[in-house]
Symmetry: C2
Subunit: 221 residues, 2 copies
């Protein structure tokens, strides 16, 4: 497994870098999904389930963390390609860092995940160049998060509400949560899942496969 | 490099501001505790319990959030003093912001809590001027967090491990977690609690009362 250490690209315009990366990915027919959430919401467990459920898709995961390589090791143990990205203390990934990480991924992958740094605030502010943004909110975090961190909910294409197997043990009003999210972002796709039991995973995986098909068909057309 | 110089000078003046605030609080015999955690770990629920359990202490809470005022309303409903601090998109509180918030608190309080922005990364990097730093890690976030966000564990005087009532439903190795934390910070006090059932709250409240006594006695001596 590879570990790379990246520093923020301060000079170039992030939006320009992001657009360039997106065009490059589209030309190659690769779908990159930027996965964002708070620390501890279960990003790696969710991605592990997707990898197991979609053996026909070649998947790569770029694990962005300030320190450690525990997540990349977990992903590699499942047989997917993984690299660990150390962000030199940075609380988010920017487009330059993401492009460097994509370049560092070896071999052919169709579906790339960027597991962003665990943080509901800063990652929402940076376009990484990914074609899709998926955020994860776990039941134990509470249904009030859309009120407190609206930007990430506004920016995301899909919201995965994880750990629904824990619903009986927490005060989490699913209906109210969805209503709050839809008010911020009427277009967002919402998928309640349990990566532990597998409940709800099929729907979000179908959304990914459809997005991958779109990238491929726009390249071929 | 430009960014590094800017960071250094900002940090230097922040440290000065923090020291000035700490001295002012000590002179007034007020204990300020900087409460940090990821989003959704249960900071407000924990503080609500402390307020109910310590009716003899006059408590004030400064709720720092990017948006919304749900937390400050919850605290006020319990009869404690609360103000909402909006951080203009900032992912942490610095000493200048904290000093302004302390000034905005009206009336006499002995014990002040700064409920920092929910984020395990950025708040750890800034001295707010608080005499004590307390971080919260909730069981659903996982026992690997000390490996991934070491700075906050290193910087804190106390770690509260919350939602222990949820231990049966999650894979969380308490012994391993404590071992990882102690390796980063041998001096840290660790308090496993459930703010819901009240289990373990007495020990962390005794720690707070003792810290308050120290501040008062150093002022009187």
């Amino acid at each position: 497994m590879k570990t790379i250490t990246l520093n923020a690209s301060v000079t170039a315009s992030n939006d320009r870098d992001a657009q360039a990366l997106r065009e490059k990915l589209n030309r190659r027919g690769v779908l990159l999904i930027n996965v964002m959430s708070a620390a501890g919401s279960g990003k790696t467990t969710f991605l592990s389930r997707v990898i197991s459920d979609l053996p026909e898709v070649s998947i790569g995961v770029m694990e962005a963390d300030i320190e450690s390589d525990v997540d990349a090791k977990r992903i590699e143990a499942l047989g997917a390609k993984a690299i660990q990205v150390h962000t030199s203390g940075m609380c988010h990934m920017d487009a330059g860092m993401t492009a460097a990480a994509v370049d560092a991924m070896e071999g052919e992958t169709q579906l790339l995940f960027l597991e962003n740094v665990g943080n509901l605030i800063c990652p929402a502010e940076y376009d990484t160049g990914a074609q899709k943004k998926l955020m994860i909110l776990s039941v134990p975090e509470g249904d009030d998060k859309p009120l407190k961190y609206p930007l990430m909910f506004r920016e995301s294409d899909a919201l995965v509400i994880t750990k629904i197997d824990a619903l009986p043990f927490f005060t989490f009003d699913m209906e109210k949560c969805i209503e709050r999210v839809k008010k911020l972002n009427p277009e967002i796709r919402i998928f309640p899942v349990s990566a532990k039991t597998g409940e709800g995973m099929e729907a979000v995986e179908a959304w990914m496969v459809e997005a991958l098909r779109e990238v491929k068909s726009s390249r071929d057309s």
